[in-house]
Every structure is written in C-alpha cells, then in structure tokens.
Amino acid sequence: MHRFVRPQLMLRDSKQPLLPRAGHLCTNHKSVVSSVRGYVVLPPTSDEEEKAMLHRMMRVDHAGEYGANRIYAGQMAVLGRTQISPLIQEMWDQEKQHLRKFNEILAENRVRPTLLLPLWNIAGFALGAGSALLGKEGAMACTVAVEESISEHYNSQIRTLMEKDPEKYTELLQLIKEFRDDEMEHHDTGLEHDAESVNLNYCHDRMSCMNYNIKIQILNNSNN
C-alpha cells in the first residue's frame, strides 16, 4: 500500500502535532522536525556511514516483516476455515502491526525499501501456503522455524547496536527488543500447538530456517 501525506511539522519532544489542520502559528517551539510521531526511533545523525548502516538495518527489518506478513497470509489462505485460524489470525495481526511500524519508520527517515519486495511477496506466500497444505502441524512448524530465524536476526542487530552505543540507540533498541519478544512469543505458541509432532518436521524446520536465512543474507548483501 502506498500513502500520500504531506510532511507534518512536530515539536521534537512532544506527542502532539505542532499544527493542527487549521494551521495556526506557535511561537514557543525549540526546534521543529518533520515527523509523523512524537519521538524519533532512528537517532538523527550526520555521519554518512552510520546513516547508511541504520538505513540498511531498517530495510532488512522491513523486508523481514513484509515476508512474515505474507507467510501468515499464505497460511490463512489455506487454513482460514479451520480450528487453528483464530490463532494464526492473531499472530498475523501482530505481524501487520510490526509492518505498519516499519512502514512509518521508512517513510519518516526516507529509507529506500528493498527492491526484492515482489520476490518476498511471492516466496512468503508460497512458503506459508505450502506449509499449511501439510496441515496444522506443518503450519506451526513453519511458524516455529521462521520465528526462530527472525529472533536470531533481531538478536544480532541488538548486539550490534549495543556494541556501538546503547545510549544513543535507546529507542531503536527498545523497538527491536519489543518486536523480538513478540516473535519469540509466536515461536513458543507454535511449539505449544504440536509443531514438533510432524515427522517431516526436521527437514521442514531446516528448510524454512534456510529460506529465511537466505532471505536475510541476500538482503544484507544486496543492501551493503
């Protein structure tokens, strides 16, 4: 989905937009930045390398959430009328929320989205639908594998940021930690619902994991 908005003016530290639609002047501001939200997740930086690194991270994360979104969509397409569907729907909604957040960050910071999005669209849907055709256990196994990969990826990002400068990246770290916790929750939910009872589980696990890891590798390499 694409959105058309005019960049809004906001006070750096407030949660309210500086100017409502009517547009009156406020003279008490310290500094004005264009932002959709009150606080900025990516710290403003003038160092080109750091900016490139942050943009790269956000691009990969955005692509990851987009892919996860499509995987759940594929699963729902097949299992949408079964007993397991409310659970998958709930997990899907959380992923949609993550994706929305990353869309906001990308728009705010003028980060370029990855060119491979159509590929992740198809691949994600195919993975989700394919695993769901193996039944509920297959879908759960896929979820477990994918969420494990995502959590590992987020953890490595957290490690990188902590190594650099935990204070500067406080908001970003908070965000990634929150998302990582959500993904771990999905992982545990998948395990709860008999993901491990599938005989093919091991192969499938590895395949999904591999698929996701390949995804992240490609993204990391292509955006470097």
Binding site: H2, F4, P7, L9, G23, A77, V78, R81, L115
Partner: protein, 355 residues
C-alpha cells in the same frame, strides 16, 4: 632560460618542476603557453600532498608575480614541505592564499587569520565564480582558470581540480539541486502554515521539474556540452547520485511515502520525464521554452494516466477473480451436496487455497 617545456615528458623531478614553475612567468609572457600542463603532468608522479604543496607555492609565487599588488616574501620552501607532509597543516597552507590576496600573505610566519577557509570552501568559491565564464569559455578548465584569476588567484589553481570540467559541471548540478530542495521545503512550510494551498501531485511535479529546468536557462547554449561531460564514465556515478537524490527530494515533497515497489516505479518514471524534458529543452527555440513546458505537461499526464489505468486494471482483475471464485464455490458446493460420501476434506482445503 626557456627549455623545451612543450613536452610533458621532460618534467620528471621535483626540482625540474620547481624550476619550471619559477620560469613559468617568462614562458607565459613569451609563448602564451600555460604551464598547467607541466603541473598536471606531475600528478601521477608524486603523492598528492607534495603536489598540493607545490601548487600552493605556485599560487603564492605566481599570484604575487602576475598581480604584483603586494610585496610578497619569497615562497618559503619550509612552508611548502610542512604543508606537503601533513594534511593537518593544509588549513594553515590555505590561510596564506586566503580570500584577501592583498592582506594575508604576511601570515606565512605561522599565524593564520581568524577566518581561514578549507580547501573545499575555496574550491566551491572558485567553481561558483567560474559559472560566470561558462557562456564565454564553455564548461572547460579555461572557465575555472578565468574565475581563479578574478578571485586573485593564479590560473594554475585549476590543478586543484582533478576532474577539471567535470568538477565544474557537478558543482553546478549540486548547487541547482540544493536550491531546488530549499524551494520545495519553503513551499512545504507555507502549506503547513496554511499560507498556501497544497498542489495536486501532477501539478506539483510539473512545477518542481520546471523550476529545476529553468535554472539551466542561463547556460542553455552550452548545456549539451555539460550533459556529455556528465555522461563520461568516471562522472556517471556522481551524476546518477545527484539525479536520484533530486528525484527522491521531489517525490518526498510531493508527499510520496510509499514503502513498496511503487517507490521505485515512481522515481523511475520521474527520472524518465526529467531526462527527456531536459533533452527537449536544449533543442527548444520557442519563446520562454513554451514547447518544453507543454512537453513536460504531456509526459506527466501520460504517467498519471498510466497509473490510473494500472489501478483500474488491477481492480477489474480482482473483480473478475472474485467472480470466478464465486462460480467455483457454487459448483463445488453443489457437488458436495450431491455426493456427500466423497472425501471432502481435500476439496475443502483446495477451496481454502483458492480463495
């Protein structure tokens, strides 16, 4: 006194260069042959720091010789070597050839003036001044040399610019893009403050591209030369970068916040529009480039039409698919009702997959 300086291959050692520079003034007076060739010939032979040191010495020496406005102490080779050895003293070296040629040369003993500029700032100043000479000399090193002389520097200071005319063109492009971004930001502020109406996308794009292309009007006669310089292989990465940031800026202020493949299609479309309109403009001879703006208008209309058509096609396609699925479900459900004993689990799953 005058050697066969016309051949670059003769100049091989530092001292030869120095001697050649020292005799430059005589060569120039007698043969009119600028010694930039010799200076540039040393680029590949020495490290850039030492080269810059010599350039500074040359600038100091020749500026004073050719202008003879101030009494200049002879170039201190100590200064040259220290400037050459460490880049940290580059500012110090630069301070001696500062903006005011008539006042700062006394500072060679070690103190520098309070407002010394960096090399980049100096280069920017020279290039900006060089734009005035472009109609006369074209996008060439001669324009830069003429500008350097206007600023009180020697024409040998063109040696600072490794890329020669490319530097001049890229500087101009960057300047135009910065100006455009400023204008767009200003307009955006006005809209936010409610002092101006928000434009529709097509109109906004048209105005933005027109604003940017109008900045070329003073140089339109020589612009084809500039375009060809930008297409040289070693300039392509930089020119592409400038073009892509400009297009990104325009779309950002037009309100594009897409985070999917539309991000790419929109920018590609606008890049195409901009490039073709630029080409039309250099061949346009109508009063105030009316034909160019009409062409631009039509191209933007095309893109908007295509976008609308794509949306319609997609909507129609979705509607068709929904219809087909409806038909499939009806048929399958009928079959399930008629033949309940068949294994319907796989049918159900297939249905689920279909819609």
């Amino acid at each position: 006194m005058i050697f066969g300086i016309k051949e670059k291959s003769i100049i091989l050692t530092n001292f030869d260069v120095l001697f050649a520079i020292a005799t430059n003034i005589h060569v120039r007076l007698k043969t009119g042959f600028v010694l930039q060739v010799a200076v540039q010939g040393t680029v590949s032979l020495q490290c850039s720091n030492v080269r810059r040191g010599f350039h500074r010495a040359a600038l100091l020496r020749l500026a004073s010789d050719s202008k003879s406005d101030t009494s200049v102490p002879p170039p201190s080779y100590h200064e040259v070597h220290t400037a050459g050895e460490s880049s940290s003293s580059s500012a110090q070296g630069e301070s001696s050839e500062d903006a005011q040629p008539n006042t700062s040369f006394q500072d060679q003993s070690g103190e520098h003036g309070e407002d010394y500029e960096t090399e980049e700032q100096l280069q920017a100043r020279i290039l900006t001044a060089a734009l005035e000479f472009v109609p006369q000399h074209g996008w060439t090193v001669e324009a830069i040399a003429a500008a350097a002389e206007t600023l009180g520097l020697s024409s040998a200071s063109t040696g600072m610019f490794n890329n020669g005319a490319g530097d001049l063109v890229l500087h101009f492009v960057a300047q135009c893009n910065a100006q455009l971004a400023e204008t767009l930001a200003e307009q955006n502020n006005q809209v936010q403050l409610g002092q101006a109406e928000a434009k529709k996308t097509a109109e906004f794009l048209k105005d933005a591209v027109e604003t940017r292309l109008r900045m070329l009007i003073p140089y339109i006669d020589t612009w084809p030369q500039a375009m060809s310089i930008l297409l040289l292989p070693h300039n392509i990465p930089d020119s592409l970068k400038h073009l892509s940031t400009m297009v990104d800026d325009i779309w950002y202020y037009a309100g594009d916040r897409s985070t999917d493949v539309n991000w790419y299609t929109r920018r590609a479309a606008l890049t195409g529009i901009y490039n073709t309109t630029e080409l039309v403009m250099v061949q346009d001879s109508s009063p105030d480039f009316e034909e160019t703006w009409a062409f631009l208008d039509n191209r933007i209309k095309d893109v908007v039409n295509m976008a609308n058509t794509a949306k319609q096609v997609q909507a129609t396609g979705e509607a068709v698919v929904q219809g087909l699925m409806g038909a499939a479900i009806t048929v399958t459900t009928q079959k399930m009702i008629q033949f309940p004993e068949r294994n319907i689990l796989s049918t159900k799953r297939l249905l689920g997959l279909l819609f």
